[in-house]
C-alpha cells in the first residue's frame, strides 16, 4: 500500500464489470462520479422493443420507520409471452442503467419466442432512474443507507409478486432469474433466498466467491495476465515492464510531458499523484480488455475490434532490448485501441475507462459495505505492480469517503459462501478468459447447482446476442441453459397442476 488514494484503487478493483481504477481524491471522485449517473445508454445490437414501467417500492424493506416509497423502473416485453402461465424471464438488474443491460442481454431476447416467455428487466435501486431519494440519493450515508443487495432482492421479490398478482395470465407463470456479473450474483442469491419466487436462476459470470477467505486474492489478476500472455508474444512481459518504465520516464518534468503527449491525455500529468492515477488507469484498461475480449467487434464498455487483446498485443511484442520510451510508445498505441478504436476521441481521460451507463459511485458504496472483494497482485504470477490486500487501509478509505466501514464477513454469512449445496436450480456460467471467473463457481456443486464453463468466453459472453463468430463453447452453453430453463418450467407447471388449489 503506497497511498490512501491507492487503497481506493483497490476498492475500485471490486467494481463489477468496470473496475474503475480512478486515482482521485475522495471528494473529487465523489462529485465526479455522481455526474455519471443517469448517463444515456447506447447499443450496437439489434433494437429491442419494450414498455417502461415504474413500480412503487418501499425504500426500506427491513425496517418500518422509513415508510416512504420510490419508483423502481422496469422494462417489460410480452411480445412472445404465451399466456396464461407462460414463463417470465426476469433480469435482476445490476449496478447501472437497466436499459443498457437490457440492450446487452440479447440471449433473453433470442430465446423469448422459443420459451413463449415474457421478459422483465428490473432496475437495481440507486442506479439509472431508480433513485430512492431522487437527486439526493447519493448526498450522504444517510440517504445511501438503503443501497444493499438485500434490499434489491426484496425489491425484485415484491415486484414479481405484484406482477403475478396483477397481470392477467401471470398468476401461475414460472419465473426464472437471469443476471450477469453482479446481476448474476443477485440472480443466484435471489434463487437462494426467494426460491418461492423464482424456480431457477442463471448466474452468468457471477463471482459469488470473490469474498474474504473464499478464493486467493491474486487469481483475478492472474487470469488477466494469462489473457495477455496467450494473445501475443511478450505481451504480458512488456506490460509487466511498463510500470517501471513509467516510473523512470515520469521522474522528470520533460518525461511527464512526453508521457502526456504520447498518450494524448486530456489533462497532462503534473506530479507523482497524477502518475499513480495514470498507472491505475492503465491497469484498469488491461483488466477491462480481459473482461470484454469478445470474438467479434462489440461495444460493451467501449467500441472494440474482435479479440481486442490480440490487437492490443500487436503493439507490445518488443523483445528485451526495447527502451523505456519505445515500450511506452507501444503501450500508448495499445491503450488507444481500447479508448479510440473509432478514432473519435480527441484525447484520453484517465478518470474514465468505460461506459457511463454504470453507476460507479453506487458500486463504490456497495464495495465499501457488503461487497468486500479482496484483490492483490505480486508482479510474478501477474503482470502488475505488487500490492497486497489491506483490509484495514481499505476500510479507512471507505470511512473517509462515505462515513461507513465495510463488513468483511457479512456477505459470506448472509449468502452462505461456499456452503450452498442445499440450494437448487442455479446455473453458474463462466468464461475462461474472464478474470471474474476467479471468484465464480466453476465446477458442479450438485445435479441442480451446475457450472457451465465457456473456455473461449470473456465476461458473460453467453448473455450477449449470438454472433456468427461465437465459439462453439458459448453456443453449447446457451443451448444447455435453455434446456435447464425448459426443465424448470416443466417441473413448475407439473407441480402447479398437482397442487390441490388450482
Amino acid at each position: 500500500m503506497r497511498t490512501g488514494e491507492k487503497v481506493l484503487d483497490r476498492a475500485a478493483a471490486t467494481c463489477i464489470l468496470t473496475l474503475c481504477f480512478v486515482c482521485l481524491h475522495v471528494t473529487a471522485l465523489k462529485s465526479q462520479l455522481f455526474t455519471r449517473l443517469g448517463g444515456l445508454p447506447y447499443s450496437t445490437e439489434p433494437p429491442v422493443s419494450y414498455k417502461t414501467f415504474y413500480f412503487d417500492q418501499k425504500i426500506d424493506h427491513f425496517g418500518f420507520l422509513e415508510d416512504g416509497t420510490f419508483k423502481q423502473r422496469y422494462l417489460l416485453s410480452d411480445k412472445y409471452w404465451q399466456q396464461p402461465g407462460g414463463p417470465i424471464l426476469f433480469y435482476t438488474g445490476n449496478e447501472g442503467d437497466i436499459t443498457w443491460f437490457c440492450n446487452n442481454t440479447g440471449f433473453m431476447w433470442e430465446i423469448a419466442e422459443e420459451l413463449g416467455a415474457m421478459l422483465v428487466f428490473a432496475e437495481h435501486r440507486y442506479y439509472g432512474e431508480s433513485l430512492p431519494f431522487g437527486q439526493d440519493s447519493y448526498s450522504d450515508s444517510k440517504h445511501l443507507n438503503y443501497l444493499t443487495s438485500e434490499q434489491a432482492l426484496a425489491d425484485f421479490a415484491v415486484l414479481i409478486q405484484n406482477l403475478k398478482g396483477t397481470l392477467p395470465g401471470a398468476q401461475h407463470s414460472p419465473v426464472i432469474a437471469v443476471g450477469g456479473s453482479y446481476g448474476g450474483m443477485l440472480s443466484a442469491w435471489f434463487r437462494m433466498k426467494y426460491p418461492h419466487v423464482v424456480v431457477g436462476a442463471l448466474a452468468s459470470s457471477a463471482p459469488i466467491w470473490q469474498f474474504p477467505g473464499m478464493v486467493p486474492c491474486g487469481d483475478f489478476y492472474k487470469t488477466v495476465t494469462q489473457d495477455f500472455a496467450k494473445s501475443g508474444i511478450n505481451c504480458d512481459a512488456n506490460i509487466r515492464k511498463s510500470w517501471k518504465a513509467v516510473n523512470n520516464v515520469s521522474s522528470s518534468a520533460s518525461g511527464l510531458q512526453w508521457l502526456s503527449e504520447e498518450f494524448s491525455l486530456c489533462a497532462p500529468l503534473k506530479n507523482k499523484n497524477d502518475v499513480l492515477t495514470f498507472k491505475s488507469w492503465l491497469q484498469e484498461t488491461w483488466v477491462n480488455l480481459a473482461m470484454v475480449d469478445y470474438p467479434y467487434e462489440a461495444n460493451f464498455l467501449q467500441p472494440l475490434p474482435r479479440w481486442p487483446i490480440q490487437v492490443v498485443c500487436k503493439y507490445l511484442s518488443f523483445d528485451s532490448t526495447v527502451s523505456d520510451y519505445q515500450l511506452l510508445q507501444g503501450v500508448a498505441q495499445a491503450a488507444k485501441v481500447y479508448y479510440n478504436y473509432t478514432g473519435s476521441s480527441p484525447c484520453l481521460n484517465t478518470s474514465q475507462t468505460a461506459t457511463s451507463s454504470l453507476g460507479y459511485l453506487g458500486w463504490f458504496y456497495q464495495a465499501c459495505t457488503e461487497m468486500v472483494m479482496p484483490m492483490c497482485t505480486d508482479g510474478v504470477q501477474d503482470m502488475f505492480e505488487p500490492e497486497e490486500w489491506n483490509f484495514q487501509a481499505f476500510s479507512d478509505e471507505c470511512k473517509a469517503m462515505f462515513g461507513i466501514r465495510p463488513r468483511a464477513d457479512w456477505a459470506g454469512t448472509v449468502y452462505g459462501g461456499k456452503e450452498i449445496s442445499s440450494h437448487s436450480n442455479i446455473i453458474f456460467s463462466n468464461g475462461g478468459l474472464d478474470p471474474w471467473s476467479s471468484g465464480g463457481v466453476t465446477s458442479n456443486i450438485s445435479h441442480s447447482l451446475v457450472s457451465i464453463m465457456i473456455p473461449d468466453g470473456a465476461h458473460h459472453l453467453d448473455l450477449r446476442y449470438s454472433n456468427d463468430l461465437d465459439p462453439p463453447s458459448v453456443r453449447a452453453a446457451r443451448a444447455l441453459e435453455v434446456k435447464y430453463f425448459q426443465e424448470w418450467i416443466k417441473k413448475a407447471k407439473k407441480a402447479h397442476r398437482a397442487a390441490p388449489t388450482g
Copy 2:
C-alpha cells in the same frame, strides 16, 4: 370492530404464547407493558445448568449507517458435548426472557447426552436482557426500528458463525435449530434463509401460515372452542352464553359491582370500557387455557392443574335454565382455576394474563409490523362474540400506538408463505389441542419437510420435559424428532468427511 381499543385486542390476539387481550389505552399499555420487560423467570422443572454469555451484535445487519452494537445474551451448556464436532442444538429465542425458554425446553436438556450435543439458547433482540438501546430500546419507533425477525435471524447466524470460529472443536459441528411458537417460526425460517448455518430445524407449534390469505382467520378460535367442547358437558355453550350475560349484568351499577366482587377483581369495573377490557381478558383466559392444556400439573403461563380445561369446565356444566348470575358465578370460578390455582392471588388483574417473562410490548410492535396474523370469530363455529378481521382498523391502531403501519404481505413475500417446498430438513410439530396449529404445517410437504401431529398435545408439548403423564403421541413425536436429528447430523458429518478441504 367496536372501538379502537377493541382493535388493539386483535393485535394482542397475535401474541404468540400469550395472547394478551388487555384492553387499555395506548399510552397506558405502552408504559405498563414496558415495566414487564426484564421480569424474572421461574421454573417448576428440574434445575438446569448453563453459563451465560453476551455477544456483540450489530444493531443493524441490513444497513451500514447504524454501526453500533449491543450485547446479545446467550446461554450455553457443554456438559454432554462430544467435541470435536459434536452437534449443537441452538434454540432460536422468541419474544421473551431466554432463561424462561431455556427452563421450559426440557426436551433439549433431555436429549443432549444421547446426541453428545452442546446446547445454546440465544435471546431474541429487544427481549430479556438483549436490548439494543438499553432502557431506551422501547422509547420510540426510531429505537424500535431494528426489532424484526430478519434482524433476529441475522443475529443467530452471526452468533453461530462466531461460536464455530472461536470454540475449539466446534468448527465442524452440525447445528440444529430448535424453537417453539414464534421461536419455532424463527427456527423454520432460519433453516430456509440460512441453510448453510443450520443443517435442520425443529419448528414446534410454529404458525408460519397464520398470515393474511393463508389460512381462514376463524380457525384459531374454533380450535379453542373445540378444546372446551370436549372437556366438559355444555362447557363451550355456556362460555358462548356468558358474553351476553356479562352485557346484561354490567348494564347496571349494581351489576358492575357484583361482577367485580364475584371475580375478585383488583380494580372494580366502572364503565363500558372496563367491561370491554374484562371480556377481552376472559377471552384471553380461555385461549391461554387451550394453549397450556397439558396432561400434568405445570407452570408455564400460570401454575395449573393437569388437563386444566377439564377442571375449568366442571364449573361450566349448567343446563339451559341457568340465570345470568349463576352462569357468571361459574365463569368466575372457572377463571380462578387459571388465575388462582395456588390460592396465592388476593385479587384478579384484568391487565395481566400470563407470565411476566414474555415481552408483550415487543410482540405488539412485531404484530404491528411484520407479524400480521388475522384472527376472527363468528360466535357460531366458536364460542366468542362475533368479530371480523379488520386490517385497516388494526393498522390505524398500530399507527396510533407506534407511529408505524403493518405490512400485511411482507411476511409472505420474505418467508414464502405456502410455497416452501424447495426447502429441506424442517420438522413442523403441532398439537391437536393447540389453537396455533390452525396456522401450522400439519401435513407433510416433502420427505424432508415433515409434519408431526400430537393429537393430545397443547402448545409445543414436545419441547417440554417428559412426564409420566405424557400421552403416547408426544413420546412418539419426540422419538421421531431425535431420529431426524440423528439423520441430519450423520449426513452433515458424512458431507464434511467427503469435502476436499478437511
